[in-house]
Symmetry: C2
Subunit: 187 residues, 2 copies
């Protein structure tokens, strides 16, 4: 297969499309983030790559708490809206039904079936972006997305951000069981 070399850029499939909630000047604000990944098991930690000028970064630095909310695909218009417009110019505090869990400065979104309450651990300066590393302190899941005490991702119906073609998609069909399909078969 011929391989085409392109300039170094941020390519990864899939990327999530999550709503990051923070308090800024006493009001909830929400921003869409695709540059989000899991970092550690103990403490359970998550990363966000945020451009230095982001309004959300102010809130995270001020309160040292924030939320990561996993939106269902039906919320796509509001998800895109939160990626297009900064809280500096656009009040997003009434866009969702907001509630609070254990963390009093991490606004959670009622309409999102999964909500993570996070506390800032470290901020790493990487150049154009700061990498936020945070401990996940709380996980809330909609009751009707649970199946046998386990989260059913198809009931969550999360969005995927497809970079390069700049589209949102759903998760697709199951391919195989993890930690199973690759097992060496004993003779």
């Amino acid at each position: 297969m011929a391989k085409i070399s392109s300039k170094a850029k941020t390519i990864l499939y899939p990327m999530p499309a999550v709503l990051v909630g923070s308090m800024i000047k006493g009001k909830p604000n929400f921003m869409t983030v695709a540059w989000c990944g899991i970092a550690s098991h103990e403490p359970p930690a998550i990363t966000l790559g945020l451009q230095k000028k982001r309004y959300t970064l102010w809130g995270i630095l001020e309160y040292r708490e924030f939320s990561v909310n996993i939106p269902p695909s039906t919320l796509v218009e509001k998800v895109d809206f939160c990626g297009l417009y900064s809280g500096r110019e656009q009040d997003k505090s009434n866009l969702f039904k907001v509630f609070f869990g254990k963390l009093k400065n991490a606004p959670l979104i009622e309409e999102c079936p999964i909500n993570l309450g996070c506390v800032l651990l470290k901020l790493i300066d990487l150049g154009s972006h700061d990498l936020v590393i945070a401990e996940i302190k709380e996980v809330l899941v909609d009751e009707n997305c649970m199946e046998n005490q386990n989260i059913d991702p198809y009931k969550v119906d999360p969005l995927i951000y497809l970079t390069s073609i700049r589209k949102y998609s759903k998760i697709g069909s199951i391919v195989a069981d993890a930690f199973e399909v690759g097992k060496i078969k004993k003779q």
Copy 2:
């Protein structure tokens, strides 16, 4: 909607399932990683959350280079195999067709339609895991996954790792155009 509170844990949808390639003791080794995210635009940077005991971490620390390879869904058995067995006990150097790009210590996988060559920037100790932050120095893409000089993610056909139900899936149908569907409609 009733929300169920669970203990703090690493929940994120979707997560990728990529193959991380490194040289260890002069031989290529490959490990499956779901805890991978984008961190920064300039420099283009990527993160990996790796358990401290991982063999791959030795290789990354020794050579300060590694690869991130995005496997197609047809490679699921080998992807799972690389997540199940450590390079300490299982020689994985002949599992794939290996080639090298610009980085002489970042083994790339021919069968994976997207290959990233990466150079270690920082290693952050988070407790159970180290967070590897690396600069993406090179991107290689299979010619037949390109469409109008753009990567077509459906031709790439990447795997998604679905945590909690521990399954791999494909990407699903398109929901909407990003940076478009949420635009405020001018009257």
